[in-house]
């Protein structure tokens, strides 16, 4: 087993799953909604990027921008359907869960209807080739994915830490009533959360499509993995999601190398079951104060 390959694969997967899990985690803690349609956002963003590559330009920036913008729009659509009309009604968590599940199923069928069952491939936006670091070999794909996701993660976290919009999201994550009492509009903040997390899912989609095909149900596995990472990290915790993303990525890389790729989901779920048995609130559930 090549240790460099393992580390590199771990980091690549961690970066991509981190983007999805962070989105799920932030949506849960600020909106109180478990977004099962995050996988739909992922699929739609893949098709958005594909359309841009087919019709406008196959340039890397254009393709990434296409995916990110489509993701943000899909996020806004989900927010408009599952959050805005429902959030002040009784039993909101359950209603929104069902609503996002509905969007996910309905949206998946729409994609199948519009684009057909044949898989699509995105152009290789990072080019084909390898970079050598001493004994380690990294493909352009992996390096590009790592750099893009890390940059987006850092920009998003810094924006949340320093800007007025970011402060309103953090305030809403901690205490929605307190946020309303300082003048934060829950609906407009919710829409910006949905767009930012949608953009993250969109980028994850473009990056993962460098190695996988775009299909109408392409979002299902990433949704499950993003959910696993978010749960294992402690829903609502940014630090926890990042730690869990690294662990889950590592488990996936090790399993794929030692047992074979078909056992990845088994080892990942065993891991999350163990984590939740020992720490029911996730890895960072006790470090950070989040929504119960």
């Amino acid at each position: 087993m090549d240790p460099y390959y393992l580390v590199l694969t771990t980091i690549t997967l961690a970066a991509i799953y981190g983007l999805l899990a962070l989105g799920i985690s932030i949506i849960w803690s600020s909106l109180g909604m478990i977004n099962l349609a995050q996988g739909f956002t992922f699929s739609v963003a893949g098709y958005g990027a594909w359309l841009v590559a087919q019709n406008i330009s196959a340039n890397g920036f254009a393709v990434v921008a296409g995916g990110v913008i489509t993701g943000a729009l899909a996020g806004a659509l989900i927010g408009g359907i599952a959050f805005i009309p429902l959030y002040d009604k009784p039993n909101f968590p359950l209603r929104s869960l069902v609503a996002t599940l509905g969007i996910s199923l309905f949206g998946g069928q729409c994609l199948l209807w519009i684009f057909g069952p044949r898989v699509k491939a995105l152009p290789k936006i990072f080019g084909v080739g390898n970079v050598h670091f001493g004994p380690a070999v990294a493909s352009y794909d992996k390096l590009g994915s790592i750099v893009c996701s890390v940059v987006l993660l850092i920009v998003t976290l810094a924006w949340m830490k320093t800007s007025r919009r970011g402060l309103e999201i953090r305030a809403m994550m901690q205490n929605p009533e307190g946020a309303a009492l300082v003048g934060v509009g829950l609906r407009s903040t919710a829409m910006s959360v949905m767009m930012v997390t949608g953009a993250m899912a969109g980028l994850a989609s473009v990056l993962l499509s460098q190695n996988y095909f775009i299909r109408p149900d392409a979002g299902v596995t990433p949704l499950v993995k993003g959910m696993v990472v978010a749960l294992a990290g402690g829903l609502g915790s940014v630090a926890g999601a990042l730690i869990a993303a690294v662990l889950i990525g590592f488990i996936e890389a090790v399993t794929a190398v030692t047992l074979g790729g078909q056992y990845v989901l088994i080892t990942q779920f065993l891991f999350i079951i163990l984590v939740l048995l020992v720490r029911p609130r996730g890895i960072a559930g006790m470090i950070e104060h989040t929504r119960e």
């Binding site: 002040d88 009604k89 007025r164 205490n175 009533e177 309303a180 009492l181 300082v182 104060h289």
Partner: protein, 246 residues
């Protein structure tokens, strides 16, 4: 003088439960008003109704002459941010703080309205002058502070904005007597200019002699006090016991 707050015929409650029954109250610019009542008699509901946080309400509430009340049967908190942007600051019971955020973040969040956000550095200095102990705690997450410190953060956050009407719900709750006196002193220091302040309290002795008016709140009705500054009589329509004295 204009009325900063004018409440007419306000009833409010949660679900099937009616808490306030036809309350009338006027507060003018420059006034500090104390509302005295026991637990469960509607002090917090009165303040929440002004902020639009009750389950349902009916009747008129005017903030600086603009109607913010009306009849509403659902959607608690839906319009709270708009009322806050119009000049309301509610420092609620339990403080509604953000436990993972630092004291500095709280002060910034209090200056959330666009104008206040630009002036937030100067406002922070002003608020730290009223609550000097917060200066050293600025980088601390609020979840690690003591009850008295949290109360100060909650009050300081409320003072960062442009609020014309300050509603303060039980500032002494859960605090040692000495600390609650300090908190009340700090509240009396605040320059309310053309605004007004309403303080809800159980402990009459903390406010006696310090506020412009004291009103009793009993079983969801205002009793034993003047409901407007130009109505000086002790209004007690029914023969209820006077406001409780501790």
């Amino acid at each position: 003088m204009t009325d900063v707050l004018r409440i007419e015929n306000l009833s409010a409650g949660y679900g099937p439960l009616g808490v306030l029954h036809s309350v009338n109250l006027r507060v003018q610019a420059g006034e500090r008003v104390g509302i005295i009542g026991l637990n469960g008699h509607g002090k917090s509901t009165l303040m929440k109704a002004v902020a639009g946080l009750t389950g349902w309400q009916s009747g008129s509430i005017k903030l600086n002459g603009t109607e913010i009340g009306g009849t509403r049967s659902q959607g608690p908190g839906r319009y709270t941010h708009k009322i806050v942007r119009m000049g309301l600051a509610l420092m609620p019971q339990g403080d509604a703080l953000f436990h993972g955020l630092t004291v500095a973040d709280h002060l910034d969040s209090g200056a959330y309205t666009r104008r206040a956000w630009r002036e937030r550095k100067a406002r922070r200095e002003y608020v730290l002058g009223i609550f000097p102990p917060l200066e050293k705690l600025l980088a601390q997450p609020v979840g690690k502070l003591s009850g008295g410190e949290r109360r100060m953060v909650s009050l300081a956050r409320g003072l960062m904005g442009d609020a014309k009407l300050l509603l303060i719900d039980e500032p002494s709750l859960g605090l040692a007597p000495k600390i609650s006196k300090g908190v009340i002193e700090a509240l009396m220091q605040i320059d309310i200019r053309d605004g007004a302040m309403v303080i809800a309290e159980q402990n009459l002795s903390l406010l006696e002699g310090k506020v412009s008016r004291l009103i009793g709140l009993h079983a969801g009705k205002l009793k034993g006090g003047s409901v407007a500054p130009d109505v000086p009589l002790i209004e007690s329509v029914h023969h209820h016991e006077p406001a409780p004295r501790h």
